[in-house]
């Protein structure tokens, strides 16, 4: 099983007619996933890779019953596309685009909250429930179905970790790339809470990094007993000096706050299994599930 997406999720891709849209459809088709609809205003009535394209999300929802949206629209059209998806109650909505201005992120998050829909991202590679649903630009061959949730602040490292788990014989229930920005929709504590509630998830693997308070808030949930499933954590950036802005806008530690070392200590004290190298996550998780 899974959370947020499952076999019943009907995938819409906004911006499907662009180059990235074609690439995502190809990734999906290769592994037997499908999108039921695409939306590109002005291109209604056409189709891409067998997927019907509509002018509006409302039409797409009416005619295909799409329920969740992957937004591949570039920054210039992002606000309009995301607000349209929120208005039509697509849930979840994945925002892939990197470099979203702060005020826009805050506005979109606020509108999604008002409409009670889950926003994933911005700067997210998407979400996958192996064998059930792919809503993102992820290579499905790296993800095996199973009982472990992966929550990652890095897109590339999510695939890398899922692959490491698969090589140890561990499959995943749902993997979410929550995005590398500091202002994001679903964050690590919230995603872990969903994994905790999912009856078919038995353990949770996280990729954290310096900056934000997500790992500290997760530690608090574990400490309070609100997360009881085993949490295996790798936090990157112990060797990255504080006070510097790296690639991910959220990966910035300030003085002692938000450093990798502090996050690892806080999580370990709370009872999470903290590894020094992500490559040992597969083996450790397998032992924990025995």
């Amino acid at each position: 099983m899974s959370f947020l997406v499952d076999r019943g999720t009907r995938v819409l891709i906004q911006g499907v007619t662009g180059q990235l849209g074609g690439y995502v459809l190809e990734l999906m088709a290769r592994a037997g996933y499908r999108a039921v609809a695409g939306v590109t205003p002005g291109r209604g009535g056409t189709s891409v890779g067998g997927v019907p394209v509509f002018d509006t999300v409302a039409e797409a929802a009416d005619q295909t019953g799409c329920t969740a949206s992957l937004v591949l629209v570039p920054p210039a059209g992002l606000r309009d596309a995301a607000l349209e998806a929120i208005h039509e109650r697509m849930d979840p909505i994945v925002l892939m685009v990197d470099g979203v201005p702060l005020n826009l992120s805050i506005e979109l998050l606020s509108r999604a909250r008002e409409s009670a829909v889950t926003l994933i991202g911005p700067n997210s590679p998407g979400i996958i429930s192996p064998g059930q649903c792919l809503l993102g630009a992820l290579d499905p061959s790296r993800f095996a179905p199973g009982e472990v949730a992966v929550i990652s602040r890095s897109g590339g490292m999510m695939s890398t970790i899922a692959d490491n788990l698969a090589r140890s014989g561990i499959g995943t229930s749902t993997c979410i790339g929550i995005g590398g920005d500091s202002v994001i929709g679903i964050d690590m504590p919230t995603a872990v809470t969903l994994a905790e509630k999912d009856p078919d998830t038995r353990a949770i693997v996280i990729f954290g990094e310096i900056g934000t308070t997500q790992e500290e808030r997760l530690a608090e949930l574990i400490r309070k007993g609100q997360v009881g499933k085993p949490v295996v954590a790798y936090i990157a950036g112990a060797a990255a000096p504080a006070g510097i802005r790296y690639s991910h806008a959220g990966a910035q530690a300030d003085g002692q706050a938000g450093t990798a070392v502090a996050k690892m200590a806080t999580l370990a004290e709370a009872g999470a299994h903290v590894v020094e190298r992500y490559v040992s996550m597969g083996q450790l998780t397998r032992e924990l599930l025995k």
């Binding site: 690439y23 990734l27 990197d98 470099g99 979203v100 201005p101 702060l102 005020n103 992120s105 805050i106 506005e107 998050l109 606020s110 909250r113 630009a137 290579d139 990652s152 602040r153 890095s154 897109g155 590339g156 490292m157 695939s159 890398t160 692959d163 590398g180 500091s182 202002v183 994001i184 964050d187 504590p189 919230t190 990729f207 990094e209 310096i210 934000t212 308070t213 997500q214 808030r217 990157a236 950036g237 112990a238 060797a239 990255a240 000096p241 006070g243 510097i244 802005r245 790296y246 690639s247 991910h248 806008a249 990966a251 910035q252 300030d254 003085g255 990798a260 190298r277 992500y278 490559v279």
Partner: protein, 399 residues
């Protein structure tokens, strides 16, 4: 995000109608003397660096007369604070205050929203979480809402209008300047109203095209390689290119060999820094080219990394990437060729087209580089870092 310097913060505050003490920006001790004479009385001489705890590090001092101001400025302008050279000082008039408090707008998480905070006490060491007034909001906050909540904290009627006016101006300011943080600490009540004695602001880099003056984000970057990377990124939007100089030329690393670092993926780049540290190698830089960049962009990055005169080796590594790595590989060897790089190198490809990418780099290396290892995802980052360390040591032994 980019941290503005105090004098820049005060410029944008004044535009928004928030008062600051009379002051002058000075780039020499003589200018500081003149400024103190012009301002009259006791002045504060404040180092303009984006350091967290500037006052505790001796970066803010007061002088009784122009001669003292000149002497302090001379010392500060020759100093570095938390590794940052002081290039200018702000000389400001002393202020008579009734009280010194705290005001800020920042981001809270879980869920991510803005929060406005105010307290009639403040100063160094004040914990914002203890502010009596805290109000969460998203885009806008009407003055009447601020006023109502301030009254609930017991703020006296005679101060209510002035505090509301200032807090409303701060809310407008963070929106206009796309700030993660705007902090006025201390903010003082004087006979003329509220005055921001100190100011900090962190501006969102992604909003560069939207803020009133993008030059504020450029003035702060002084490293020439970081500037080149940023300029390239602003010309070529395909994928991302982020470069940070961690160890400038001339900086030593406590005997550890210094190496260049170049990665694909923001998370991967962090992992690589950790892997290098684990084998006692000192990365001189951080560099990430990901999100399907052009070969030209990867080449520009590779040339910057390999062109650092103070490195003994380079580690290139990718996460399991979707981007076509053959394109990345072409860019990598082009950049190394331009930099004339022939030093010890480990190249690790994982993901889309990794086989092709390995072949491209291996073929380039033949007859050019003796100490080159090209590996795939079966070799993890820590093993790759160890390989680089071994290559560097074998070179040293061979001498």
């Amino acid at each position: 995000m980019t941290k503005l310097l105090e004098y820049q913060v005060k410029e944008i505050l004044r535009e928004e109608g928030i008062a600051t003490p009379p002051g002058l920006l000075c780039r020499s001790a003589a200018e500081a003397r003149e400024a103190a004479a012009q301002l009259g009385g006791r002045v504060f001489v404040k180092a303009q660096v984006a350091a967290g705890d500037r006052a505790a590090a001796g970066g803010v001092r007061s002088g009784a007369d122009p001669a003292q101001a000149e002497a302090i400025a001379a010392e500060l302008l020759a100093a570095t604070i938390q590794g940052m050279p002081v290039e200018a000082v702000l000389v400001e008039a002393g202020i008579q205050a009734e009280w010194e408090g705290y005001a800020s707008v920042s981001i809270v998480e879980g869920p991510a929203r803005r929060v406005l905070r105010f307290s009639r006490s403040g100063g160094t060491g004040f914990d914002p979480a203890r502010a009596a007034f805290q109000l969460e909001f998203d885009a806008h906050l009407e003055p009447h809402v601020i006023r109502r909540e301030l009254r609930r904290t017991g703020l006296a009627s005679q101060e209510l209008l002035e505090v509301t006016r200032t807090l409303s101006a701060m809310v407008r300011c963070v929106a206009r300047w796309s700030a993660y943080v705007l902090e006025l600490n201390p903010i003082a009540l004087t006979a003329q109203g509220l005055v921001a004695l100190d100011g900090k602001a962190d501006i969102d880099d992604y909003s560069k095209a939207l803020i009133p003056d993008a030059a504020y984000l450029e003035a702060v970057e002084t490293d020439p390689r970081e500037r080149l990377a940023r300029e390239f990124q602003s010309r070529d939007h395909r994928g991302s290119f982020r470069y940070v100089q961690l160890l400038p030329e001339g900086a030593t690393a406590a005997g550890r060999p210094r190496v260049g670092s170049h990665s694909v993926g923001g998370g991967e780049s962090m992992v690589v820094l950790d892997a290098l540290a684990a084998v006692e190698l000192a990365p001189t830089n951080y560099c990430d080219t990901s999100g399907s960049p052009s070969a030209e962009k990867v080449a520009a990055a590779a040339e910057l990394v390999a062109g650092q005169p103070h490195i003994e080796g380079v580690l290139f590594s990718t996460c399991i990437a979707n981007q076509p790595l053959a394109t990345t590989a072409h860019g990598l060897v082009d950049g190394w060729e331009r930099a004339g790089w022939r030093g010890p190198s480990v190249v690790r490809f994982a993901g889309n087209q990794s086989e092709q990418a390995r072949e491209i780099v291996a073929r380039w290396g033949e007859g050019r580089v003796d100490r080159l290892r090209v590996v795939g995802e079966e070799t993890d980052e820590w093993t790759a870092a160890r390989m680089l360390r071994d290559l560097i040591e074998s070179e040293e032994q061979g001498r």
